[in-house]
Each structure stands twice: as structure tokens, then as C-alpha cells.
């Protein structure tokens, strides 16, 4: 049985941007509510609950539900250690953060009515918004 780990240090402040980032990564079907239960791949109910849940049926055969709990700072992920290691080749959390960050930049660009220039230096992406 894979245990769940919470990552309160990884916070997604904006619900809309987070849902969009999830959809971009292929997780468009998200259940929303309060204290939604999380289930493991056997269908076993776990003690953890979440406000946003991607059910395991939409992830993979051996996956567990993927949850996001709400805090005062925003939403933070609750991911099983199995999925943390296997989802998107073990890059799920970092890719979600990158995708979310790019959507933050796009939102800022739109609100400032600016233009964006993109440059990549190794593993670092620089986005300059001018307005």
C-alpha cells in the first residue's frame, strides 16, 4: 500500500490557474468539494481528504487518487509516494509547478497588456514581460 504525503510548502494560490495547469498536463477531470475522501488503488478509503481530487481512474491503473487540500495560502498537493515517483515519469509535481508558473506569467502579461519574451538557459526559463 502506498502512503500519502502532503506537500504544504508547494502552494497553488489561484484555483483557476491550478485547474488549467492540471488540464494542460492531462488531468482535466477534477472533482471539487469539501473534505472529499481519497481512495487508494485497491479502492481503500484513506484518512486524508481534499478539496480537489483527480480520481485514480483518470490517472493510471496502479495509481491512487490525487488530492489538493485547501489552506489559507492556497491549494497544496496530497500525493501518494507511488504516484510521486511514477506520475509523468516522476516529474508530476515539478511539471505542475512549472505549468502553473507559466500561467502566472501569462496572466500578468494579459493584465499589464504587455508582451513576453522567452529565453531558455539550460534548465532555466526566463520570461520577460514588458509593458
Amino acid at each position: 500500500m502506498s502512503r500519502y504525503l502532503a506537500y504544504p510548502e508547494i502552494v497553488f494560490r489561484d484555483r483557476e490557474l491550478m485547474l488549467a495547469a492540471l488540464a494542460q498536463l492531462g488531468f482535466a477531470q477534477v472533482e471539487e468539494g469539501e473534505d472529499l475522501p481519497l481512495f487508494g488503488y485497491h479502492g481503500d478509503r484513506r484518512v486524508e481528504t481534499a478539496a480537489l481530487v483527480v480520481r485514480r481512474q483518470h490517472i493510471g491503473r496502479w495509481s491512487n487518487d490525487l488530492g489538493f487540500a485547501r489552506s489559507a495560502q492556497g491549494y497544496y498537493p496530497i500525493v501518494s509516494d507511488y504516484d510521486r515517483e511514477t506520475l509523468l515519469g516522476g516529474t508530476f509535481l515539478s511539471r505542475l509547478r512549472v505549468t502553473y508558473a507559466e500561467r502566472v506569467v501569462e496572466t500578468v502579461r494579459t493584465r499589464l497588456r504587455g508582451t513576453v519574451q522567452r529565453a531558455t538557459e539550460g534548465s532555466v526559463v526566463k520570461l520577460r514581460v514588458r509593458y
Binding site: R13, S94, E102, L112, V124, K126, R128, V129, Y131
Partner: protein, 69 residues
């Protein structure tokens, strides 16, 4: 031209932001917008550029009306 530079580390997903070309607290508006979307930063620092307060030149015009007596 004002510029907001974002740096994203694709290995970790860490996001950094640097605001250029806006002297004084006017850049707070941009910082506030980003914080709305990202939450409070782990580290925040005002640069020397921030501390340059824009000078304000007040212009007063006085209109003198002649009264017909």
C-alpha cells in the same frame, strides 16, 4: 520600459520574479498582482531601484477672473 522578469527553474518549478524600470513603490502594484496568483514569497527584497522615489512636480495654475464693476 518597465519589465517584469520571471525565472522558472524547470527542474524544481521554482519561480523568481524581478521588477525592473519602475522606481519607487509603483512596483508594489505589480508585486501585489503576482502575489495574488502565487501567494506570499519565501523571500522578498527591495532593490536599490525600488528605493528611488519618483519626484513629483506639482503644478498649480491660477485663473484670475476680472470682475466687471
Amino acid at each position: 520600459m518597465p519589465e517584469v522578469e520571471f525565472t522558472i527553474d524547470t527542474q524544481t518549478g521554482e519561480l523568481r520574479m524581478h521588477i525592473h524600470g519602475i522606481a519607487g513603490p509603483a512596483c508594489d502594484d505589480v508585486a501585489r498582482l503576482v502575489k495574488e496568483l502565487t501567494g506570499e514569497p519565501g523571500h522578498e527584497e527591495a532593490t536599490a531601484e525600488y528605493r528611488l522615489r519618483p519626484s513629483i512636480h506639482a503644478r498649480t495654475s491660477t485663473r484670475i477672473q476680472s470682475r466687471g464693476t
